[in-house]
Symmetry: D2
Subunit: 178 residues, 4 copies
Amino acid sequence: MAGSVNKVILVGNLGRDPEVRTLPSGDRVVSFSVATSESWRDRNTGERRERTEWHNVSIFNENLAKIAEQYCRKGSKIYLEGQLQTREYQDKDGIQRRATDVVLQRFRGELALLDSRGGGAGAGDYEGGGGGYGSSSGGGSSFGRSSPMERSSGDRAPAPAPAGGGRLSDQLDDDIPF
Amino acid sequence: MAGSVNKVILVGNLGRDPEVRTLPSGDRVVSFSVATSESWRDRNTGERRERTEWHNVSIFNENLAKIAEQYCRKGSKIYLEGQLQTREYQDKDGIQRRATDVVLQRFRGELALLDSRGGGAGAGDYEGGGGGYGSSSGGGSSFGRSSPMERSSGDRAPAPAPAGGGRLSDQLDDDIPF
Amino acid sequence: MAGSVNKVILVGNLGRDPEVRTLPSGDRVVSFSVATSESWRDRNTGERRERTEWHNVSIFNENLAKIAEQYCRKGSKIYLEGQLQTREYQDKDGIQRRATDVVLQRFRGELALLDSRGGGAGAGDYEGGGGGYGSSSGGGSSFGRSSPMERSSGDRAPAPAPAGGGRLSDQLDDDIPF
Amino acid sequence: MAGSVNKVILVGNLGRDPEVRTLPSGDRVVSFSVATSESWRDRNTGERRERTEWHNVSIFNENLAKIAEQYCRKGSKIYLEGQLQTREYQDKDGIQRRATDVVLQRFRGELALLDSRGGGAGAGDYEGGGGGYGSSSGGGSSFGRSSPMERSSGDRAPAPAPAGGGRLSDQLDDDIPF
DNA sequence: TTTT
DNA sequence: TTTT
């Protein structure tokens, strides 16, 4: 299909700490569920109603997986972009089932932490603003896109310790802008 | 949850003609499935692989349901925005199952037809340019947002007859900009 | 143009309190600027660089304008969806200029407050979760979509007083789900 | 700013063939303008009105620049994702001006061609269904994300020759999934 | 299971 | 002008 788009955008909160699995291939996957919620007034009763939706998220994107593992915790509010993917599996009773996940594939998807708890942010981190539009201007925002060149840094400390804004990626990337 | 977002954006093709159901409440729902597809080169074998994903779409938004019913057909390429919703149901064997749909709720979601078959719009159709920014400028694009004031127009002709670009909504809306 | 989409999604912080203007037509517009920021490592120097982008936002959507006026303040972190619109104007020296804004038109766009300061959220506000998928299920999230039926409630108190999550819209809507 | 998002999604038509420039750094930039259009019924006069918006797009993402150069032409309908960027410049009369562009930075953004002219893809092109969910499953869609490993393939033939759906990237990528 |  |  020449042109198709499959995109999910969520802003919500993690229901639990992320889980990390290592695949037979050696790839690591970080997964968690995210709650979104909406409320409305019932057309008939006039009462306010609310509905919470739970989304299963799986991160194959290595950079974003690392960030999720290190900084996302139960209750964290995040912005994420992924794609819809439905898989079939057999449950413990041998029944064939389907489940639809929000997946951030290798080199794809976005993740941004939206709560500022723990935010140190040393003075001077943002100095002068702007920035040109010059030829060397890379891009990226939040913990945007990963790069295929980056190797695992090995540190999967269980402790969160969210660093100050804009500094996180320093610990993760090498020299690829993102 | 004060701030949460649950949004799906798809560009893909309908696998079948839309189905129309009328709910006990009298509301009508239009549903169909949309295929998106992606291809990549296998990391190990070097072969090109492709995967098609099927999305079940349900439109409760009355205006967009009408448009889908009238103009979408098997094979139509569309842009749509909806939200993820997972529901539980019992299958014919009494097994409890879950299914995740892309839902366009009342007054919500977007739908745009992307193929121009039947479309007037000859060469130069888009070269009109400009347009003001007056104070009375409403908004809307494609078949954007429906309005709660609009009642069903009654005409659910089975024939498609896609009109020229941008004219469709004339047949559907009254005086609400969208 | 049969199918076109013009959408901007921003997550960022307000640079100042919102400004409210009343148009000759009587419509009110709420406007503010939003900062987004990205950082990357310079390809040549290896230094971390940052660039902040400022977006001018104008809200014509009445419901969302009210919410912005009441709850958004300098520094607030928000999620918003709007469209790009470029307008021409004459500056004070009579020079013809163009400016591109992110606009939330009547009945269009989305706005969600992402910081929880002031968040009371009485216990029991979220009880039982879920919610069915019944025929009366409206939609909406955050302070999603406005409705053409709602009139201005008249209260434009300068004081913020952000209420507990999910309660805000109670003060604004009547019986339209959103 | 720890969590910020700056995203533009457009579906529209190119107003002219893309222009290609080479920067002093050697990087190439492909730029063009895209028209989106919306129509609505005037609240006062009841007349249908239409407004076309023109967006200046600049592609620094090397892969997507190549694709745009090869396959996008005046009139092409595309889906794209980029970010807003405002730059200052001096016009020919020495007046300082600002312009806001939609930018696809290196390794960022998305581009999908939505018209099927020249497209092989006969009937039944999208009815293949399924596709696995293997552990080695990469991702990507359309001409999603570029990779830093890919070098310019050198062929910037001025002739379009759009190939059949999903095959295009074969000519561009090496072994990076996208 | 989250959050408001 | 924000935020980290």
